[in-house]
Symmetry: C2
Subunit: 160 residues, 2 copies
């Protein structure tokens, strides 16, 4: 269980989440979570499949999709669309957590920058907005995304 193995051990957070929801803790699910925890961000379902395959070669792509769907539903994983036709996934690690970040997306080459500069102020405003929106619309807000679109340094340079 290398690195910050996400709530590791049989009593860990996600294990409890699973048991509480009546979901079984299976090898594919454990390994998918492990891969998500150990990898860089923004993995596609296939990226994940390939990495899991190294560890557990009987894995099926279908199971990866199904597990990701479950993890998203449980709030453990965030699903993104960066506009390249395939969904991307990354561990949530909670909304107030250190690793929370937002995205800068180049609409020309697809480059993604994760940033967490100025994120404190953002999160503060978002917290406030969130409360007001919950009050006004009766929504129970669980997560958010903030993405900026534009041209990255390189693409800007190329276009004169």
């Amino acid at each position: 269980m290398p690195r910050g193995w996400y709530g590791g051990g049989p009593g860990g957070w996600w294990q409890r989440q699973f048991r509480g929801g009546g979901y079984r803790i299976t090898m594919p699910r454990q390994i998918i979570l492990q891969v998500l925890d150990e990898s860089k961000r923004h993995l596609s379902a296939e990226d994940i499949y390939l990495k899991v395959y190294q560890i557990y070669p009987t894995i099926g792509l279908t199971t990866v999709y199904r597990t990701l769907e479950l993890l998203v539903r449980m709030g453990l994983v965030f699903k993104f669309d960066f506009g390249d036709g395939r969904a991307r996934y990354e561990l949530t690690r909670g909304d107030g957590n250190l690793s929370h970040h937002h995205h800068l997306i180049c609409t020309n080459c697809g480059r993604i920058i994760d940033y967490d500069d100025f994120i404190e102020e953002e999160l503060e405003l978002i917290k406030k907005t969130r409360q007001e929106l919950e009050k006004k619309y009766g929504f129970e807000i669980r997560n958010h995304t903030l993405q900026f679109y534009g041209l990255c340094k390189k693409c800007k340079a190329i276009k004169e």
Copy 2:
């Protein structure tokens, strides 16, 4: 030319954008833009196709897709993914514009709420963040999205 026909007339803003980019002003393009301007938001490509079809029955779905892609590239239209497997489109009308808004998305039933409450503060922060990010990462930011995900009033009620 009903309603706020978006920069109407042959000297309008988008016509100039088209000419400037070397793009031709064709019937399909005009009507697609008209439909986007006159309709509610969050239309799928097929929604748009169906509406254009009423006015211009020789339209092809392919053309709708291609035109939307162009309009997105030109910054006239925003493309969203609300997680239901099809892209949604709406006119941009500029970043600082009155109609600028953000989204509240129910992850259970798919309901979307457009809101522009508290948007002034949001936009102010976003403007600031944007400037800093442009400086730090050399990105030329053209647009942004802020979306909140959670359970709408109804879905929250159903789940006890």
